[in-house]
Symmetry: C2
Subunit: 376 residues, 2 copies
């Protein structure tokens, strides 16, 4: 019996054809395509097709998936009934977890678990997540809902539904790239949670709900929000000039600075390279460099002090900030992208399944005899 220690670090939990990481070289690839090729070239719709079909789409296939992801953006009636209550009562990731769970009930494919039905269910989940997040935000702010525009890309449509007016092409494209960058990342905790569920042959909505549940954690998807809170805190202290002292002070007091380091990458997370560049672009475009400059100072301080690189969450925070996405929606936005990877992994798990049931190391009391209540 192997004893890899807590965390299953380095233990192969599943085979996958969906994505791969070379942590030493800092390479991430989806189905053989380097993320550095995908970021400038692929749309999120193409990425979704790639993750699910293991090939880039032809023109016709791309039209089909765009049509599909455009058509299925409205939540079903049951979920729509819940949304006002969820918007009033619930934190964003809890809303998404509950709405995703609830959306299984009225799925047009019902309990059909064929490969084809699961593909359609996957597309519906990818299509509807941005709407859930945007509706939630508008409902909680007493704003009228902006219905999805099926003529827009998934990225542009999200910004439109959230803000009520159409983003310019440059911003829409940057957000589109963000979605591609976050779409998949091998056996990360949320994808793994989804696969553990799928491996009991539970349904795809269950597995994705488990993915959301795991992504919510501050050691996973929740980190991007905490980065933004740190940036805001530094801005309140006086801005970029205060960032270095703030950061070093944290580190020396053993307080974790979020958005740095990764279990898998020993060099720069290749996604961070693109997010840093886009944060800079948006900083210049907006005329307000503060998020970017503060981020740069934090990055330098962490590198000098600890030699640790920023991860995907670090510059994502600035980018989302410049796109005027509310901070508490950063992790739900992450989910809007990662749902493409979760569903692809769940379908891959179903296709060649074995129950995921690890062992444990017992560290409790030795065997002992029952003691009656009166003798305790």
């Amino acid at each position: 019996m192997a004893a890899p220690g807590k965390g299953l670090e380095g233990v192969v939990a599943a085979e996958t054809a969906i994505s791969d990481i070379d942590g030493k070289e800092g390479v991430l690839s989806y189905v053989g395509y380097d993320i550095h090729d995908l970021a400038p070239n692929a749309t999120f719709e193409e990425t979704c097709y790639l993750l699910h079909n293991l090939e880039l789409p032809t023109e016709q296939q791309l039209d089909e998936i765009k049509e599909q992801l455009g058509r299925e953006r409205e939540p079903n009636d049951f979920v729509m009934d819940l949304m006002p209550q969820l918007a009033q009562n619930t934190a964003p990731m809890s809303m998404l977890r509950t709405a995703c769970s609830a959306s299984s009930a009225n799925d047009p494919d019902g309990w059909d678990t064929s490969e084809e039905a699961n593909y359609r269910k996957a597309m519906r989940l990818i299509a509807v997540f941005p709407t859930l997040v945007a509706y939630y935000d508008r409902l909680r702010n007493d704003q009228p809902l902006v219905r999805p525009d099926s003529g827009l890309s998934l990225a542009a449509n999200f910004l439109y539904m959230l803000k009520g007016d159409k983003a310019d092409d440059a911003e829409a494209r940057i957000f589109d790239i963000c979605l591609t960058l976050h779409a998949d990342h091998t056996m990360n905790a949320s994808t793994f949670a989804a696969r553990v569920c799928a491996a009991t042959l539970s349904d795809i909505h269950s597995a994705v709900t488990a993915g959301i549940a795991a992504l919510k954690g501050p050691l996973h998807g929740g980190a991007n929000e905490q980065v933004m809170r740190m940036i805001k805190e530094i801005r309140n202290l006086g801005g970029a000039g205060k960032a270095r002292d703030y950061t070093i002070d944290k580190l020396r007091n053993k307080v974790k600075v979020m958005g740095f380091g990764h279990r898998v990458y020993k060099t720069e997370d290749p996604r961070a390279t693109h997010l840093r560049r886009m944060a800079k672009e948006l900083a210049e475009k907006s005329g307000d460099g503060s998020n970017y400059e503060i981020s740069q100072e934090i990055e330098r301080a962490v590198m000098d002090e600890k030699g640790i690189y920023p991860n995907v969450d670090f510059y994502a925070a600035s980018v989302y900030g410049y796109l005027r996405i509310p901070t508490d929606l950063f992790t739900p936005v992450f989910a809007c992208s990662r749902v493409s990877g979760w569903t692809a992994h769940v379908r891959e798990q179903y296709a060649d399944n074995r129950l995921i049931r690890p062992d444990h190391a017992y560290v409790g009391p030795e065997r002992r005899s029952w003691k009656a209540l009166s003798q305790r």
Copy 2:
């Protein structure tokens, strides 16, 4: 890098003091107490205390947890608002998954993640699950709700809320034992899913929601329902006299007979021993031996043909059948018990946490260059 193969069989994923299994000897223990000692002696309330506190309760501690688990049985208003819709639209485990997820919103401890708050949240979840299941059943059948009776044990109260009249002491005690038998089982798939979520420091409601999502699968909690469906099918074919041929026919046609075999036990699952005895007791009491007799014939046929032992799901089906629990509530009833183990494991994970993030084996296409759409 270890390559244990799919399923993480034999790979230690976590340390735990909560339960232990000796698969070769067929021993299950909770915190050092053999399940053969717990079944005849412990109440489910004592078991909950044991799993969470790693000691049997004193009289005062037992009174406290009984009071706590009696007081918190009503779902909060938000969840109550959802229940009629969930009862009309949703399958039982999907209802429980959605209701559990939704119940985080109005928890009196809010986002407090202190150890004490998580203990209270755990107790609330254990207390409310039976009510959710009973209310669901009565709502879908247009029956008036039966409000929980805090004077009854959790087991007796569930049967009361479900049926509308109080179970006799013998039946209530049998159901109580069932809850203890199902309460924990080391790193089973649902508990593991819950721990993977908890290890991102996501909240306890998220982790338990993931547990439900995994338990729902037919290779995990869903098996007990399928056993009952098989028993009913055999009854329709003519009863116990048809069971042997039916079973052997299935096995020879490579159709899985549910409720047999277990990844961990190489001998009889010790829980099956108690469930078999209780099924017999209820058969005699009811004057209708058919469930039990059919089960016995299936068990003998599987043993003769394959040498495989029944697991916890096999006789649980007969027992729940005799207790007149609707078949599609068997897995939710399993969840009503296992939530005690899930929450204990989640708290154990929080107390000494490390992100659970395994590795993968990449089996997809080799690195390849981007191809423009027009060239595909």
